[in-house]
């Protein structure tokens, strides 16, 4: 605990502290909720709004070391100076951080019980990459992939669809969180459906559709950087009359491997079966491929919609892509037996844990309010509800940072409509209380009608040439070759479920 009396003396000396403040025996309400959290020592200032009635606000942020930060505000909006914040956090790694708030209302000062946070020892990856898009139903217009400096507030577009013929840009991914190896997909619109692959200072546009698969979608880069595991999905959207109205199911899906060097789609017949496989995820040693799998739709009674019965299990297969060797598919967590469905498996960098989403059915967790995060200990096989992270709204896409100390995940807890990136520290036993991505204007989430989609942590500023991406988007796509061993498969001619706004 901090020597509070000492802080008060400092505050009195600085004329910041109200001499005759009455004490309120509760912590003040602040927005966003930055109380009782653990934060990385390199995170941007956690600006917030004091949500207590008052005409003046005084805030002191302090730790055991360094100068306390004192802030006055008339609106309740607390904007923390970046340099002072950085120094304070740096000086208090592994130590508590205290926020004392006093509010003047009707001439009387009231001081609340301090908010206690903790500064972790471990920094978080410096960059977060996400797609910003309005809540999507069928038609889209504006969207973009952005990077955000987590140590400050700079947000920079990587690719805006305004410059690529209003098409869809999505599914960005980085090899081993490296900022110079990136891929993303372009769908529909003038540049056509293709993948942009940036590596070695070059960007290539690749048409990944073959006689075996539609254009690929969900992805994970092999740790060696030589292959990318993809799923190719035929997605269908439908609408409910009650509750969350959007829902999605796959009509078909398979896993394939993209061999970067040879520009070739390959894979194993064991992961491209009549069953539906999706969401591939490599183990950190690159020897195991995790994925989700469910029965084909043909299994269900065609007279009724099967969406509630579609439940994905977590599977894995041992493999050595270098030698083209594949083991046998084996179940890891058979969620369907519990009447649940697994999506988005993500293995921790040390290979010990696997964080995934669990919902009642289906594979589109962002549309499922019941989707929660669960943690699987791969050593013991124990699965537990990551309750520290979950809310009554959807928790979905997530990502470990490079060292495995931090996770970022999408949550709609605020309003059920727009997903926001939340961070939490993982110490091997459990997660700390999550906090939302800090913003320069802390009120922004109350106004921003856009959703943060697919948050990906990256080590450092994205160094892929953005203009090269743009140029490549308008270039001619190179067709991926198909490994003859995969054979051919009749392609579903289904219409795309998400569409650009029709031009008048």
């Amino acid at each position: 605990m901090l020597p509070k009396a000492g802080i008060i003396v400092c505050m009195l000396a600085a004329g910041l502290y109200p001499a005759a403040a009455s004490q309120i025996d509760r912590t003040p309400k602040i927005y966003p909720d930055y109380a009782g959290i653990t934060i990385p020592p390199n995170i941007a200032p956690l600006n917030f709004i004091v949500e207590e009635q008052g005409s003046q606000y005084r805030v002191v942020i302090s730790g055991e070391n360094g100068k306390p930060i004192r802030i006055k505000s008339r609106s309740g909006k607390v904007i923390i100076p970046q340099r002072k914040w950085r120094n304070l956090l740096e000086g208090n790694r592994g130590k508590p951080l205290q926020i004392v708030i006093a509010v003047q209302d009707k001439g009387q000062w009231r001081e609340f019980r301090p908010i206690l946070n903790r500064v972790a020892d471990e920094p978080i990856s410096e960059t977060l990459v996400y797609r910003l898009i309005k809540p999507l139903y069928v038609y889209w217009k504006e969207m973009g992939i952005y990077e955000r400096d987590l140590t400050g507030f700079d947000e920079r577009p990587i690719l805006l669809n305004r410059t690529t013929g209003d098409n869809c840009v999505n599914c960005h991914a980085f090899a081993d969180q490296r900022s110079d190896r990136m891929l993303l997909h372009l769908r529909a619109g003038a540049p056509g459906t293709a993948m942009l692959l940036a590596e070695g200072g070059k960007v290539r546009k690749i048409d990944t559709s073959t006689e075996f698969n539609r254009a690929v979608a969900y992805r994970d880069w092999h740790p060696s950087g030589k292959w990318i595991a993809f799923s190719a999905n035929t997605v269908n959207q439908f609408f409910h009359a009650v509750g969350e109205n959007r829902d999605v199911y796959d009509k078909a899906s398979d896993l394939v491997l993209y061999d970067i060097e040879n520009n070739r789609i390959t894979g194993s017949p064991k992961t491209a079966t009549e069953m539906m496989e999706t969401y591939p995820e490599w183990s950190p040693d690159g020897r195991t491929l995790y994925f989700c799998r469910t029965d084909p739709l043909e299994k269900y009674d065609p007279s009724e919609h099967p969406y509630r019965k579609i439940k994905y299990d977590l599977m894995r297969i041992a493999c050595d892509p270098e030698k083209g060797l594949w083991g046998e598919v084996e179940p890891v967590f058979e969620a369907s037996r519990l009447g649940k469905s697994v999506t988005h498996p993500k293995v921790s960098p040390d290979g010990r844990y696997l964080l995934f989403c669990l919902a009642e059915y289906g594979n589109f967790s962002i549309y499922r309010p019941d989707s929660d995060l669960y943690l699987l200990d791969l050593h013991t096989g124990q699965v537990r509800d990551a309750w520290e992270l979950n809310s009554d709204k959807s928790e979905s896409y997530h990502c470990w940072d490079a060292d495995g100390h931090w996770v970022v995940f999408s949550s709609k807890r605020e309003d059920g409509l727009c997903a926001r990136p939340f961070f939490s520290r993982f110490d091997g036993r459990g997660f700390s209380k999550p906090f939302v991505l800090p913003q320069k204007d802390p009120a922004i989430y109350r106004r921003l009608l856009k959703t943060y989609n697919v948050p990906e942590l990256v080590s450092g500023k994205v160094s892929v040439d953005r203009r090269a991406l743009l140029k490549a988007a308008w270039s001619r796509a190179v067709k991926a070759k198909l490994d003859p061993e995969l054979g051919r498969r009749a392609q579903d001619e289904a219409d795309e479920m998400w569409k650009p706004v029709p031009k008048p």
Partner: protein, 595 residues
């Protein structure tokens, strides 16, 4: 002809009378409220909105466009705005030519062709979708050109440096219109300092290229045409001609031969008279040019429907739109709101069939909020939400989209999302009061909500079902099963049954008619019941206690008599049966199979 006479038309143009004519033109013929309806310009007083424009050159001009376009919301203010903009541009251009391109001994002070952009602007802004950015950009560029020439520095190096700085700022603020500034300045300098003119052109080309490779993530097309409003669909490439016109006119005066001889004065006078006449004729032609009346009517229809002016919706629909999908859709909605759907819907042809009730699938993306309106009427709030979000994607965060979403999220009990929409609305120009009045509802129980919201809440389905986009009418059965007192769903179900020729289904529905507060069976329902009873018999269906009207029975007898007269030959009977064209029998006989 003397010079005084020659400049008369231009004097007239800039006179108050011309401004009044222009005002009358825009106020009565164009109606800026319809421009607002077409463009639905989104604008918020906050940094978040401003930040949206930072990723492109000319973002500030787009922001200004959105702000100024708010004036279209009121017919009077919108007309004033257009009058001011459209007269200031040629006026400034004229003054610029006067001081900038006339650096030789004064030959005259009057340049009629400087007013040529005026008729072009009138033509462009007679189109409902033409953005203000072009006119605003031209105005800013011309103002800067005028000031730059008027207060020119004597030292050419400083002049060039100042030009470069001003161009950079102007390009950052306006995008493409900055080239107008550069072009006019280069022309002004070309005689006395051709090297400076060449440098200015090179600078104007280099800076956008540099910006494209350093600051902005844009393509060359965007770097060099931002905010020029160049659209391939305009007739005679008017949009491009608008910009070229400035340079052509400026070059014309620059190239005009100098002659100080006495005889030249006569030539000048004639020349001015001809120029003035050309401008005057062009102006008259622009004012008299036909406008896109089909688009105007569609916008009027949308305008009235948005405001719930149902009688005007019917009038507008019947004025040439009744055989369009959207016309029938809105007319049917209007009839429903006027309580006449099932008694008057066949007063027009209902050519679109069920698509006139639920809007054809191909048009839903063009009218997403109208489609949302329909579901809101029906109490199918999830679909109202769905289409309001589609509208959000198509048209952006317009006040109407935000209002609908606030209503939807209130009804669904998702107050945080509703609050978010209201927060946005409170930052708009015209809808902040609505938001302030709506906000307290988030804390109130449904009993204290306005009637339209209470009814919508009562009609919301309780049990889930899946929406079928190809057969939207299927939702009606679900809605009625869940909420038997949903009057909107009931009337739409009756109408749908008639349009689909499912009279048996209609008879099932009429068994419940007394549960609703009808004073009599709606006429078309009576007609359909008679048709059913005549063909199949009454079966287990009971007739309502208030019976069928004598007028309908008499009418039906007459209809059958005519048919009998022609021995059931409906083609032969058609001319005589046309007097029954506002009945369901006529629709069932002549229209139903054609769908």
């Amino acid at each position: 002809m003397n010079r005084k006479f020659a400049r008369l038309p231009i004097d007239l143009l800039v006179s108050k009378a011309a401004a009044v004519v222009l005002f009358v033109y825009f106020f009565f013929r164009i109606n800026p409220e319809l421009i607002y309806q077409a463009q639905q310009p989104v604008f918020f007083f906050d940094r978040l909105f401003w930040a949206e424009f930072g990723h492109q050159p000319g973002g500030a001009l787009v922001w200004l466009d959105r702000l100024a376009s708010q004036l279209y919301y009121h017919r009077f203010l919108g007309s004033i705005l257009l009058v001011l903009l459209l007269t200031l541009i040629p006026f400034l251009f004229h003054q610029t030519i006067k001081i900038g391109l006339n650096d030789r001994p004064p030959q005259n002070e009057f340049f009629p062709f400087a007013w040529l952009p005026f008729p072009i602007l009138i033509l462009l802004y007679s189109r409902y979708d033409y953005a203000l950015a072009a006119a605003l950009g031209a105005l800013i560029a011309l103002t800067l050109t005028f000031l730059f020439i008027r207060f020119a520095l004597k030292n050419w190096v400083r002049r060039l440096v100042t030009f470069t700085a001003l161009f950079a700022v102007l390009y950052w603020m306006t995008g493409g219109p900055a080239f107008l500034f550069a072009g006019l300045i280069a022309l002004a300098w070309s005689r006395s300092k051709p090297l400076a003119a060449a440098i200015s052109v090179a600078t104007a080309l280099f800076l956008p290229w540099l910006g494209m490779h350093t600051i902005w993530l844009i393509r060359p097309q965007e770097a060099f045409t931002a905010n020029l409003n160049l659209r391939s669909t305009l007739p005679f490439k008017l949009d491009a001609f608008f910009w070229i016109c400035f340079l052509v006119v400026a070059a014309f005066y620059w190239l005009l031969p100098q002659n100080k001889a006495k005889s030249a004065k006569t030539f000048l006078t004639i020349s001015l008279a001809v120029q003035s006449s050309v401008v005057f004729l062009a102006l008259a032609a622009a004012l008299a040019a036909p406008i896109d009346t089909a688009q105007q009517k569609l916008l009027q229809l949308d305008y009235h429907a948005r405001r719930g002016q149902w009688r005007q919706v019917l009038e507008t629909a019947q004025d040439g739109l009744i055989n369009t999908y959207i016309g029938q859709f809105q007319a049917n909605r209007a009839l429903y709101h006027l309580g006449r759907l099932c008694s008057d819907m066949f007063t027009f042809e209902q050519r679109a069939g069920i698509d006139g009730l639920f809007l054809h699938e191909s048009l839903r993306a063009a009218y997403p909020l109208s489609f949302s309106d329909l579901y809101f009427d029906l109490g199918y709030i999830n679909e109202a939400q769905h289409w309001a979000h589609e509208s959000l994607s198509v048209f952006g965060e317009t006040p109407w989209n935000l209002q609908r979403l606030a209503e939807v999220y209130l009804l669904k009990g998702e107050t945080a999302a509703a609050r978010k929409c209201l927060d946005r609305l409170q930052r708009t120009v015209w809808h902040r009061r609505w938001a302030k009045q709506f906000l307290p509802l988030l804390e109130k129980p449904p009993e204290k909500w306005p009637d339209y919201l209470r009814i919508a809440k009562q009609n919301m389905p309780k049990t889930d079902f899946l929406f079928t986009p190809a057969e939207p009418e299927e939702c009606l059965e679900h809605l009625l099963t869940d909420r038997p007192n949903n009057r909107a769903a009931y009337e739409y179900a009756l109408a749908a049954a008639m349009l689909l020729g499912k009279v048996g289904k209609l008879m099932n529905l009429t068994d419940r008619i007394e549960e609703f507060d009808y004073r009599a069976v709606p006429r078309h329902v009576e007609e359909a019941m008679l048709l059913f009873i005549t063909n199949v018999g009454q079966k287990d269906h009971k007739l309502p206690s208030y019976g069928l009207s004598q007028a309908t029975l008499l009418n039906y007898r007459q209809f059958l008599a005519v048919l009998e007269k022609y021995k059931g030959d409906k083609n032969a009977a058609l001319p005589e049966l046309r007097r029954f064209s506002d009945t369901y029998w006529f629709f069932a006989m002549y229209r139903l199979k054609k769908q």
